[in-house]
């Protein structure tokens, strides 16, 4: 620090505490709301201190759902979200490692062309080509399947770029040494390149898991069978499913459960998360 002013620091702390409060506030309110009995919300403004029905609400939502309103138990939605997020994260990393390996360690006709084809995916988010992508998936009979939920989202230019950048920094001597020892491409990839990339793979995994978990529009379009609902899209069904005011205590319990897993991933792997986030944008 250049100078030492106590009031300035105090002000900075004040701003930050206020900022953190604003950032935390919505989630705090959701947690509080999820612990109250349904009647609480009919009496006007909601309370700011926890109620005593938390356990009951969460049990209802996880195991029973709202069968009368056609919403399945949240337990199965959580599982679907987990499967989808894992398939997307693992799939993206696997195919990106392979294609980055091909682009960096081989010279072959059409290399630039393929690089550009992969690059295109970066420019076309699902949101802008909704209808035709839906038609393709429908024609392939992939509606209401895990494959339909994950495979169309697996192609990833970002991960390919990240691994390409990283492979370029791997010393040339590695390959020379491996070849002197008689290692073929596959052995080099498996025993040298992948072990060297472990940190990058983990960082990518954190980002892609969150990406997969938070998908909304895609599962909304291609699942009509409620046993394939994911939790993030399930919330919307709960909010609009009822004909009157939503059952806020259950909706908020669902919201908390939907937000918790990715938040935990970030909190426990903060360093990897920051690395993944800042490096993918380079």
């Amino acid at each position: 620090m250049v100078e030492n002013d106590r009031w300035g620091m105090l002000l900075a702390h004040l701003v930050l505490i206020l900022g953190v409060a604003v950032v935390v506030f919505p989630v705090y309110v959701a947690i509080i709301a999820s612990t109250h009995a349904p009647g609480t919300f009919l009496q006007g403004v909601m309370p700011l201190l926890p109620g005593s029905h938390g356990w009951e609400n969460y049990r209802t939502i996880i195991f029973e759902g709202r069968s009368n309103a056609g919403a399945p138990p949240i337990g199965s939605m959580l599982w679907n979200s987990f499967v989808m997020a894992m398939m997307i994260a693992v799939g993206k990393i696997a195919i990106s490692l392979l294609s980055a390996f091909a682009i960096v360690y081989f010279r072959f006709p059409g290399r630039i062309f393929f690089f550009w084809i992969i690059f295109v995916t970066l420019m076309l988010p699902v949101e802008v080509r909704i209808v035709p992508t839906y038609q393709v998936v429908a024609n392939l009979h992939m509606l209401n399947t895990y494959a339909g939920l994950s495979i169309p989202l697996i192609a990833s230019a970002t991960a390919t770029f990240l691994f390409r950048q990283f492979f370029m920094t791997v010393p040339e001597e590695m390959l020379e040494a491996a070849r002197v020892d008689g290692a073929g491409p596959w052995k080099f990839f498996k025993d040298i390149l992948v072990p060297l990339s472990v940190t990058n793979i983990a960082a990518m995994f954190v980002i892609m898991f969150i990406y997969g978990w938070n998908q909304y529009l895609w599962p909304l379009l291609i699942t009509t069978d409620d046993s394939y609902y994911t939790i993030v899209m399930g919330i919307q069904r709960m909010v609009t499913g009822a004909d009157s005011e939503p059952l806020w205590h259950l909706v908020m319990a669902t919201v908390v459960l939907a937000a918790l897993p990715p938040i935990l991933v970030i909190l426990f792997m903060q360093r990897l998360f920051v690395k993944g986030l800042t490096e993918t944008e380079k």
């Binding site: 309110v29 995916t121 038609q135 938070n214 937000a259």
Partner: protein, 294 residues
């Protein structure tokens, strides 16, 4: 584009390695995109029995359609509002956290996790807080004499979605601003301090200009985010209402295509959006190239 000095030689292996990525890209990206291009020049009759090729008529219609123009304006307001709000808050937080020494990591932890919250979830969270009958903030606003109701008032609905979208994006911007601030050489700031520049002056004449590459990059990223990734925020809360007040372009593509069943128009809108994404991506990449040369 470079490779390694020494490479493997194989006639078929690189193609096998690339195959999964390229096949998925062709089936789920390139093919649908070209379909969108084709469909944007077709028009179906209301019963879906006959399809005619109409060249650019769908586009002409769109640009003559007051609803579409209104949606463009809504998107612009939404994107600019979200970007400004989120960038200014996260810059403030980053500058403050950057002054901390011991508590830096603690504050960072508290500020980064909203990144993990899905846009749809963020929308529902704020929607609940602002709910006219049970929410806390309308209750407080009423004491101040303001009657909040995002179901009726267009302005309130827009404010709600902007808040929800900006809230989620604060973590991302914060991390990049913090990294940017930490890369500014301390010696420059000390030199200015010796010359008698106060904290505020140092910020506006040294720190802020040096941060401008980061700010510009974040602006592009945030505009892309607001235009394309906020579908969930809109769909889970206002559903474009009241009276189209929050009907942003991405949401309109979905609505016209899936609910209105107007495939030609929806495809034309897709094509326009793709154009916008491509322009923004190119801008972003140009910037990255420039930064590498510094």
């Amino acid at each position: 584009m470079q490779t390694k000095r020494m490479t493997f030689t194989s006639r078929w292996l690189p193609y096998v390695l690339l195959a999964p990525q390229v096949i998925i890209t062709l089936i789920f990206f390139v093919w649908p995109a070209s379909q969108a291009l084709w469909q944007s020049m077709l028009r179906q009759d209301p019963f879906g029995l006959r399809t005619t090729f109409v060249w650019f008529r769908n586009f002409e219609r769109l640009f003559a359609d007051p609803n579409y123009l209104a949606s463009m304006k809504t998107t612009a307001i939404f994107a600019v509002g979200t970007t400004l709000l989120s960038l200014s808050l996260s810059l403030l937080f980053a500058v403050m956290v950057n002054r901390m020494i011991r508590s830096r990591d603690l504050y960072t932890t508290f500020l980064v996790w909203p990144y993990a919250v899905a846009p749809a979830v963020a929308g529902v969270l704020w929607w609940f807080i602002f709910n006219p009958s049970v929410g806390i903030l309308p209750y407080m606003l009423e004491m101040l004499g303001y009657d909040w109701n995002h179901r009726l008032h267009a302005g309130d609905a827009m404010a709600l979605v902007i808040l929800a979208a900006a809230w989620k994006q604060i973590s991302y911007n914060f991390l990049f601003f913090l990294a940017g601030l930490q890369s500014i050489p301390q010696s420059l700031i000390e030199a200015a301090a010796i010359d008698g520049a106060g904290r505020t002056k140092r910020f506006w004449t040294i720190i802020f200009p040096l941060l401008s590459p980061t700010t510009f990059f974040l602006m592009v990223v945030n505009i892309v985010y607001a235009m394309f990734d906020t579908f969930g925020v809109i769909h889970a809360t206002t559903a474009g209402g009241p009276a189209q007040a929050t009907n942003i372009l991405v949401y309109k593509v979905y609505r016209d295509g899936f609910i209105g069943n107007n495939l030609g128009s929806s495809a034309a809108q897709s094509v326009i959006l793709m154009g916008i994404v491509i322009v923004l991506t190119v801008v972003q990449f140009r910037w990255i190239e420039r930064r590498v040369n510094y």
